[in-house]
């Protein structure tokens, strides 16, 4: 892929949960959305509007009913099974509201876990994990994440999300569990880290204060197909 290949392209994307009535409204309904490499966008929408579901479709965790999702030029849903998982592991990083760190594992192991399913050569894993944890400000990488503060957990989650140098980072309400001060610091970290590694960022939030941080803001209500 060329350097100008869009990090994300969505076209005519529609999804409703299995078992829903045929005439029920679409949970996800996006006509078109694209992110350039390294571009950062905020996706807003009311609670229950399908922001998280859209991110899971983009990550290839849920199949859409219609439409195309291209991540770094590749239709991720064209892959099946292990190939899609490998592609996701290599090209997409995810950050969650509740961090979803692996409990019982150290900060370093959480980052290494992301690398172990990627195509990054194994001999580079250790150094890369330590470097990233240093960048995000984790002084004790061997410590169990259960012993970390909320802010530190968020930092580990950010380091894990960018460990494979992904084309795209999906952040699903990353500051929802943080107080305003920590939320600002966390967003600073997410945005600056994505910038450093050259990853595009698609961040969902229903926090209005987040809007000022992004030059590009998209509302799910405005993305709907005609």
């Amino acid at each position: 892929m060329s350097d100008q290949t869009p990090a994300l392209e969505l076209r005519d994307l529609k999804f409703r949960y299995p078992g829903a009535a045929p005439n029920a409204p679409w949970i996800v309904d996006v006509r078109s959305l694209a992110l350039k490499p390294g571009e950062q966008a905020l996706l807003t929408g009311a609670s229950g509007r399908g922001k998280s579901t859209l991110l899971q479709i983009v990550a290839g965790l849920i199949d859409p009913d219609q439409g195309i999702v291209r991540v770094h030029g590749q239709d991720i849903h064209a892959f099946s099974g292990a190939k899609r998982d490998l592609y996701r592991g290599s090209k997409i990083g995810m950050i969650f509201q509740n961090f979803n760190l692996l409990r019982g594992f150290s900060a370093k192991e959480n980052v290494l876990a992301s690398l172990m399913f990627s195509d990054v050569p194994r001999k580079e894993h250790d150094a890369r994990a330590l470097e990233l944890l240093k960048i995000v400000g984790i002084p004790m990488p061997e410590r169990d994440v259960a012993d970390f503060s909320i802010g530190q957990m968020q930092r580990v989650a950010v380091a894990r999300a960018v460990a494979t140098s992904p084309a795209l980072v999906l952040a699903d309400e990353p500051t929802a569990s943080l107080d305003p001060e920590n939320a600002g610091a966390a967003m600073d970290l997410i945005q600056s880290t994505c910038q450093k590694v050259g990853a595009a960022l698609l961040c969902t939030s229903h926090d209005p204060s987040m809007a000022d941080r992004f030059t590009r803001r998209e509302s799910l209500d405005q993305l709907v197909t005609a």
Binding site: Q56, L61, A82, D85, E109, L112, A113, M116
Partner: protein, 429 residues
């Protein structure tokens, strides 16, 4: 160091340490029980075979071949009917033999059997079933002293010496018979001239003396019953009526290194035609004895197999129950790029590892357990059992335990495989 599947499995096991340890213990008990039973069954059989050693036939006047073996080799009881010297001569002249050793049982010392025999018992008969024909190493060796050479000398088996606390140079009087009818031969004292090293056979709990002295004391008993003033008889006074024996240990000629004699069927048939004697082929009698108790073996082994199955079910339940707590971890791993088959493999591998650790622990349990059982058998019953783990059987049991554990992991692995990533990534609070 890069992270591997093993790191994930190890953490999963250590995060549920109590559950992991208890399932490992369950597998260990199951494997240990199975290996112990299999080992003790084979070792027990060998312990019984050890008594009959290199003899081919045992001739007695007992009621059945099995009774002959139990009395003549395992010293269960004093045989009720004797064999006369003329019968002994007639029998031993009727076939070629490497040895035909006369024995007489009837006396005891502190409850320990006394076998009167000839020195050939120690120079030709071997208590070792793996005896190599032509080998000078029969399996007898002395801890102290020497074999009896003259009348009224006694050699004491290793366990008998320990139990009766006798030493070389001690003098002892034997007891005739058992129970209320027993009486001590106070007029005749035997001198202990040797203590044997353990042979691992029933002979360890016996005392050995020569036939002549045994004939003399019994002749004296009979004569005193007729005439209380009768003096002590000498060897010269003995008549054929005094020179009774209760058994003949026979080994037929063999060829080369073989312990099997081609004459055995012919000689056996010839001897069995004589209704006044009982001819036992000890190895066959021991096998038939084990066939009788074999059903109990099979029941015990079946029970051990059920315990193994139960241990597999406990692994399955432990892993399946842990799935509730692990769904989020699995969902996170999936997001990070772990495929469904790899998640499946992680759970099955974890299950198999519990089987491997349990199997190794079970082998250790069996190794120690059999030695404890062997020690108890030796102490309480005088039965020397040397537990040996057949490498093939051990391998099969260990592989079976690992395979069962892996199979037990299939259902939890399927649950892990089907884990919904989207549902399990949602915030819980």
């Amino acid at each position: 160091m890069a992270m591997t599947d093993w790191t994930i499995i190890r953490r999963s096991m250590s995060s549920r340490l109590f559950s992991t340890v208890t399932t490992v213990i369950t597998v260990a008990i199951a494997v240990g029980l199975m290996l112990t039973l299999l080992s003790m069954r084979d070792s027990g059989r060998r312990a019984f075979e050890r008594g009959s050693g290199n003899m081919h036939l045992l001739i007695t006047a007992d009621s059945s071949p099995l009774v002959s073996v139990l009395n003549g080799i395992f010293y269960a009881n004093a045989p009720a009917r004797p064999i006369t010297p003329s019968k002994f001569n007639q029998l031993t002249n009727s076939f070629p033999a490497e040895y035909a050793i006369p024995t007489q049982l009837g006396d005891q010392y502190m409850g320990l059997p006394v076998l009167a025999t000839t020195p050939e018992f120690f120079t030709k008969f071997s208590p070792n079933p793996d005896f190599k024909p032509g080998s000078a190493e029969l399996g007898w060796s002395l801890a102290e002293g020497r074999i009896f050479e003259a009348p009224f000398e006694v050699v004491v088996g290793a366990r008998a010496a320990r139990e009766s606390n006798v030493n070389v140079g001690d003098e002892l009087a034997l007891t005739h018979g058992m129970g209320e009818e027993a009486h001590i031969h106070r007029d005749f004292l035997y001198t202990v001239v040797g203590i044997l090293e353990p042979t691992g056979a029933s002979h360890d709990r016996s005392l050995f003396t020569d036939l002549t002295s045994s004939w003399i004391i019994h002749a004296h008993d009979r004569r005193k019953a007729d005439n209380p003033d009768a003096g002590k008889p000498t060897e010269a006074d003995l008549t054929d009526a005094d020179k009774l024996i209760t058994g003949i240990l026979v080994r037929l000629p063999t060829r080369g290194d073989s312990n099997i004699s081609s004459l055995l069927p012919t000689v056996g048939a010839q001897l069995r035609a004589d209704p006044s004697i009982t001819v036992a082929q000890p190895s066959e009698e021991i096998q038939s004895l084990f066939r009788i108790v074999g059903n109990i073996d099979q029941i015990l082994i079946a029970m051990a197999a059920i315990v193994m199955l139960a241990s597999a079910i406990s692994i399955m339940l432990a892993l399946y129950n842990s799935m509730e707590q692990r769904r989020r971890q699995i969902a996170v791993l999936r997001v990070l790029g772990c495929s469904r088959p790899r998640v499946f493999g992680l759970v099955v591998t974890e299950s198999a590892i519990i089987g491997i650790i349990g199997g190794i622990a079970g082998y250790t349990v069996a190794f120690i357990g059999t030695r404890i059982v062997a020690s108890v058998l030796k102490e309480k019953l005088g039965l020397v059992v040397e537990p040996v783990f057949d490498p093939q059987i051990t391998f099969v049991v260990l592989v079976a335990s690992i395979a069962l554990a892996a199979l037990a992991g299939l259902i939890p692995a399927a649950a892990a495989y089907r884990t919904s990533v989207a549902r399990n990534l949602r915030p819980t609070d």
